[in-house]
């Protein structure tokens, strides 16, 4: 045995952080990703916010644009977690990233830690950007009590975990890196219309809401509205209240579904050979 064999292998965490650094660098250097994944939610927020800038029915001190600004944080997380992870993994599979890593002492966990670092950094930046737009353009008020920030904290964490796991699972649906953005964006856009992110919940047909209540997006939007809007407008939600307990339950359930799907579908390369 040579001296090489004596030296300890770098830990999965260390390789994972190294992956994370490379992921973040690559993400922000790629103009398509920055424009499409990162800027789009804020652009849509600004557009919808200015189009629907009237007072909310039955609540004179809240404007419709503020309802959008709060709920659309869910869009931001869907972009930086679900879409960017799904598109990213499809790309990694196609351009040889996964194959190269598989030929080194890198583990699947280290690769996923890299994705988590990427999602954490881009999501924090995304949410900060969207909140800045909401506060400056539409007079959204940041909460002053700790209770709401605690809600924000667990909601953000659960939403990011759910979206990342589902993004990893969905990446296998995309046949190629080129088709991935289309495959990933369809459910994201559709669910946002039916879950009360792009359209106020009161305007949606009951049947549509009944269906979208099975998916996480509706609960994410509702949760973020509860953080940034006065409790008085909770009466405009489907159940007439913020339903924090149920939001947590649905998101945790989707975490488990996502985890199961990931374990069942993740592959280093397309191992199914001809």
């Amino acid at each position: 045995m040579t001296a090489v064999a004596e030296k300890a292998l770098p830990s999965t965490l260390r390789i994972g952080l190294s992956r994370g650094g490379a992921e973040v660098r690559q993400f922000f250097r790629e103009r398509d990703a920055v424009v499409f994944t990162f800027a789009l939610p804020t652009v849509i927020l600004i557009l919808l916010g200015f189009i629907f800038d009237e007072p909310l029915d039955g609540a004179t001190d809240v404007r419709v644009s503020q309802v959008f600004a709060a709920g659309m944080i869910a869009f931001g997380i869907l972009s930086t977690a679900f879409i960017s992870v799904g598109v990213g993994i499809a790309g990694d599979r196609e351009d040889g990233t996964l194959k190269r890593l598989r030929g080194t002492p890198t583990t699947a966990s280290a690769y996923l830690i890299g994705k988590i670092v990427l999602v954490a950094v881009t999501t924090v930046a995304e949410v900060a950007l969207m909140l800045t737009a909401g506060v400056l353009l539409f007079g959204l008020e940041l909460p002053s009590d700790t209770g709401r920030w605690v809600t924000f904290g667990w909601l953000l964490a659960l939403s990011v975990i759910v979206c990342t796991l589902l993004g990893i699972a969905a990446s296998t649906l995309a046949r190629s890196a080129r088709s991935a953005p289309a495959v990933m964006n369809l459910p994201v856009l559709a669910l946002q219309f039916t879950s009360g992110i792009f359209v106020h919940v009161s305007a949606l047909p009951d049947a549509m809401l009944a269906v979208s209540s099975w998916f996480p997006v509706k609960w994410m939007g509702q949760g973020f509205r509860s953080v940034f809007l006065p409790d008085a407008v909770a009466s405009q939600e489907v159940a007439g209240s913020w339903e924090h307990g149920r939001i947590a339950l649905v998101l945790i359930a989707w975490c488990l579904v996502g985890l199961a799907l990931c374990l069942a579908t993740f592959r280093w390369t397309d191992r199914r050979t001809r």
């Binding site: 300890a8 292998l9 490379a22 690559q26 040889g96 990233t97 194959k99 030929g103 080194t104 890198t106």
Partner: protein, 277 residues
């Protein structure tokens, strides 16, 4: 102890047998060339040795372990230069090589590896801006930065200009002198001839010939004699060149452009492939 030992290797895709009973033994420090036409089973064989694919039968030992069950420690002793990688497009050469180095317990100095691969001037350039040949050199740099005992090179010089190829060959010889065992697959026969200490020719999933570049397929036994005379260009393949040469020197008519050559590796190779079919 052999670095690679293969007995009766078998791989099927559905009803098609891609690798049909290959046996190989590669010793430490060898540069082993694997030749064969597309579909001969080269890539499948190499990917089984690298641990990318599972075999359907046979015994395989690479660095003393079974690639199907070998772990991270084993991977850290291996270097793989894949074909057609496009990853890390937005990273610079230096970032990429440093990044890959971070996966290994005892990596080489990334700056030294960059220099060795002739990429110093491009160290700050993003991978997507590189030419095909430069990009391949980055792949080689990533393959050797971990300080591997065994290096797999799959079609390494595709897209190189002649000068870059020569520089690359020098690099491979350099690595071999350091004691790295190298397994090389290539379409370029001159490349295998220049680099390999031993080679095997694959066809239809079997090894049809094995030997050194000089002796494979009975290559040394025959010579090609060619010349020009009053009747135009002449060419004779024979395993006894001396009588013919004597006859030529005794001729009254002038003989020009006389050459005596061994059969080229390409001739031997094409014959072997042809026979196998």
């Amino acid at each position: 102890m052999a670095v690679i030992e293969v007995q009766g290797l078998l791989k099927r895709y559905g009803r098609h047998t891609a690798v049909d009973g290959i046996a190989l033994a590669i010793a430490p420090g060898e540069v082993f060339g694997l030749l064969g036409p597309n579909g001969a089973g080269k890539t499948t064989t190499v990917e089984i040795l690298e641990g990318y694919r599972r075999r359907d039968g046979g015994d395989v030992r690479v660095l003393g372990e079974d690639p199907d069950s070998a772990g991270r420690r084993w991977r850290s002793r291996l270097g793989i230069v894949p074909q057609g990688a496009q990853d890390g497009a937005e990273l610079t050469v230096r970032e990429m090589v440093r990044h890959v180095a971070s996966f290994y317990p005892a990596p080489r100095d990334p700056e030294e590896v960059i220099a060795r691969c002739g990429l110093e001037e491009k160290a700050g350039a993003r991978l997507r801006t590189l030419s095909g040949g430069q990009r391949r050199r980055v792949d080689v740099a990533c393959g050797i930065v971990g300080g591997p005992e065994l290096l797999f090179l799959d079609e390494p010089t595709t897209g190189f200009d002649p000068e870059a190829r020569r520089a690359f060959w020098a690099l491979i010889r350099d690595l071999a002198e350091d004691g790295t065992t190298i397994v090389l697959t290539s379409h370029y026969l001159d490349e295998v001839e220049a680099l390999a200490t031993r080679l095997a020719v694959l066809s239809g999933g079997r090894i049809v010939a094995e030997g050194t570049p000089g002796t494979i397929g009975g290559r040394t036994a025959e010579s090609i004699i060619s010349w020009h005379d009053g009747n135009g260009a002449q060419r004779v393949v024979t395993d006894e060149p001396l009588p013919l040469l004597a006859a030529l020197t005794g001729r009254a008519t002038p003989v020009t452009d006389l050459r005596v050559q061994p059969r080229s590796l390409e001739d031997v190779y094409l014959e072997l492939i042809g026979e196998a079919k």
